[in-house]
């Protein structure tokens, strides 16, 4: 048996709704006329969980109505996310220019096209353009390199 997109999204939303409901109940509920901070989120999460369950059950009743989940392509996903995170890690201690080099270099691992020379040239150009626009143009207060 394959797991269809509808089944997976139904289960996902049910879990999100239930999790959200648990968090919401930790806030004060109040009454309908005087709602506390927890009331509206709780109602919302009940709706999300119920809707998710509906989608999941519906997909089980008619299993051919939804396509099976496509393959996840982990290489571009991990490369792009790792590039963003490394930018965040580098921007304060190392400064803007090393952060851009890291971001471009790691993101280019997403596929095997283009050589390292292209990566270096691109990083240099992007760094120059960004320093021009953001530091000199918009006057952002970001360090360029390690102090």
């Amino acid at each position: 048996m394959h797991i269809s997109k509808d089944l997976a999204s139904g289960v996902l939303f049910t879990l999100l709704g239930l999790g959200g409901l648990i968090i919401s109940t930790s806030y004060r509920m109040g009454t309908l006329a005087q709602m506390g901070p927890g009331m509206f989120p709780a109602m919302l999460n009940v709706a999300i969980a119920a809707g998710g369950a509906f989608v999941a059950v519906r997909s089980l009743m008619a299993s051919d109505a939804s396509a099976p989940i496509e393959r996840f392509h982990f290489r571009p996903l991990i490369a792009v996310l790792a590039a963003i995170v490394s930018f965040g890690l580098a921007i304060r201690p190392l400064g803007l220019i090393p952060a851009i080099f890291l971001l471009v270099g790691i993101s280019r691992l997403a596929n095997s096209d283009g050589g390292w020379l292209e990566t270096v040239v691109m990083s240099l150009i992007l760094a120059a353009v960004c320093v021009g626009i953001f530091i000199y143009g918009l006057g952002l207060n970001i360090e360029l390199g390690p102090i």
Binding site: K5, D6, S9, L12, F13, L16, G20, I23, S24, Y27, R28, T31, L32, A33, Q34, M35, P37, F40, P41, L44, N45, A47, I48, G51, V55, R58, S66, A67, I69, E70, F72, H73, P76, L77, V80, L81, A83, I84, V85, G88, L89, I91, I100, L103, V104, S107, R108, A110, N111, D113, G114, E118, M122, L126, C130, F134, L138, L140, N141, I142
Partner: protein, 500 residues
């Protein structure tokens, strides 16, 4: 007289040299990304949102709007020349536009697009001028009850009209509302859904969510497939359509404009559906439908007019009611909020120079598109040669610096990565991000209006059905839901979207 003085104010704002420059930058950038497949207007606007912080509100909005309708125009350029729609709204133009190009009438097809877009743009602008103020008068009468029902209707419309199942669309919208609530509750000061992180206390920045869900998820998705592109190398000769083509195009342009305006005003419908509807209409009323697909002039003129008309008129619900009709409009609304302007019917009266300046700049922008782009067609098509592997790191760099410049807080960068991951999972599950972002923007307003409505009715939920306007919205909403669950109509909608 009111209309004239308003327009005069608008043109005086739009003709300001700086605003003209922002308009020019907007439409040029818009055309550029419209030409490039895989980089849509939503991504570009999300990416540039942080850059508009430093601009005055008029300039920011004028530039973002320029990107929006410029992209619609650029998308049709590649549709005609390369049979490659730069945007989903120009898919229909491929059918007959590319055939015209193959017959050596590429120049004429491009000119017809430009003329059709311009006529539609003028009509759309006029419609906003005429319909905007009375609509806001009505909207100012709305209380929290009516507003809640209206926003609910807009969310359901968007959820119902996106690709895929309505139930999942509604779930995405609800989840968007929930995420939009994160941060301090304005009524009680309680921190909700912050997970103990101080970076979440003020709520999640709109630009962060939009960038992760649209830009990052789209980049990963585009990187899945190996790219291959072919570029039309034939020369374009004879830019002007001949007398016969002009005569054939007049009525379709008018019909397309009307169809597009209708779908533009309707929340949630959007440009793609408008272009399909316009094409279907032309094919149905044509004396000889077999010409369609063989380079029929009507098949280019009508959808292009509809495309631009709906792009313009979708500003009507956004600016007069504060209810965005599409993801792009939600971004425009987000830009308004970033500028410290509370969206809603009071915008026209409290910021007249912003509203009328934007309207006037759209007209000027359309003129700029016609004047600038026809001679530049060669430049635009050569842009197609830029490989995606060079493009996407640049987008990432702009996104990251833009997000960091919001609050100089690394938490926002982690959030972009997190939303990117979520966006990619949603793509894999066929869950559209558009209802999510709409719910995200409207979330706090929905809760606020719901709370106030309940407070005023002393906790009696029947108030939503006893107010006639609110009841009207809810009945309309249920009708749409009902119609779209009827199987035959549903499959037609799917076909129209799947061809996209």
């Amino acid at each position: 007289m009111d209309i004239l003085s308003n327009l005069a104010l608008g043109f005086s704002v739009a003709a300001d040299p700086w605003n003209l420059l922002y308009c020019l930058i907007g439409v040029t950038l818009g055309t550029f990304i419209g030409v490039l497949p895989g980089v849509g207007p939503v991504v570009t606007i999300a990416m540039l949102l942080p850059l508009t912080f430093g601009l005055p509100s008029e300039g920011a909005l004028i530039m973002l709007a320029g990107i929006y309708y410029g992209a619609a125009y650029g998308g049709s350029t590649t549709a005609i020349l390369v049979n490659l729609p730069g945007e989903s709204s120009s898919v229909v133009t491929c059918i007959d536009g590319y055939q015209m190009a193959r017959k050596g009438r590429a120049g004429a097809a491009l000119a017809l697009c430009a003329i059709g877009s311009f006529v539609a743009g003028c009509f759309g602008t006029a419609l906003i001028v005429v319909a905007g103020p009375p609509l806001t008068k009505i909207a100012l009468e709305f209380g929290p009850v009516e507003y809640f029902s209206l926003m609910l209707m807009a969310l359901v419309f968007t959820s119902a009209l996106v690709h895929g199942s309505m139930a999942k669309g509604v779930l995405m919208a609800l989840f968007g509302i929930l995420v939009g609530l994160a941060g301090v509750d304005i009524n009680t000061g309680v921190r909700r859904f912050t997970f103990g992180s101080s970076g979440l206390v003020e709520g999640i920045e709109f630009a962060v969510a939009a960038m992760g869900l649209f830009a990052i998820a789209e980049i990963v998705k585009n990187l899945e497939t190996v790219e291959k592109r072919e570029v039309f190398t034939g020369r374009i000769s004879g830019l002007m359509p001949n007398r016969d083509e002009m005569r054939q195009a007049v009525k379709p342009i008018m019909r397309g404009t009307l169809v597009g305006s209708f779908f533009g005003v309707l929340p949630g419908a959007g440009q793609t559906i408008a272009t399909f509807a316009a094409y279907m209409l032309e094919k149905r009323i044509a004396k000889d439908p077999s010409r369609f697909g063989q380079g029929a002039v009507e098949g280019v003129a009508a959808p292009e007019a509809a495309n631009n008309a709906s792009a313009q008129t979708s500003f009507i619900p956004t600016l007069t009611l504060g209810i965005p009709g599409s993801a792009t409009m939600a971004l425009v609304l987000g830009a308004l909020m970033i500028q410290g302007i509370v969206p809603g019917p009071q915008v026209i009266t409290s910021h007249p120079s912003l509203f009328w300046g934007l309207i006037a700049s759209m007209w000027i922008g359309n003129l700029l598109l016609v004047v600038l782009n026809l001679p530049l067609v060669g430049v635009w098509t050569s842009m197609l040669r830029i490989p995606y592997r060079v493009l996407f790191p640049g987008i990432l760099v702009l996104c990251c610096i833009g997000v960091f410049s919001l609050k100089f807080n690394e938490v926002d960068i982690w959030l972009v990565a997190l939303f990117g991951l979520a966006g990619y999972i949603f793509v894999k599950l066929d869950c559209e991000p558009a209802p999510f972002i709409l719910g995200f923007v409207l979330g706090p307003m929905i809760e606020e209006n719901f709370r106030r409505a309940m407070l005023m009715s002393r906790g009696d939920p029947s108030v939503f059905f006893t107010s006639p306007i609110s009841l009207g919205f809810l009945v309309f909403m249920f009708l749409i839901m009902l119609v779209l669950t009827i199987p035959s109509l549903r499959s037609q909608k799917e076909r129209a979207i799947l061809e996209a």
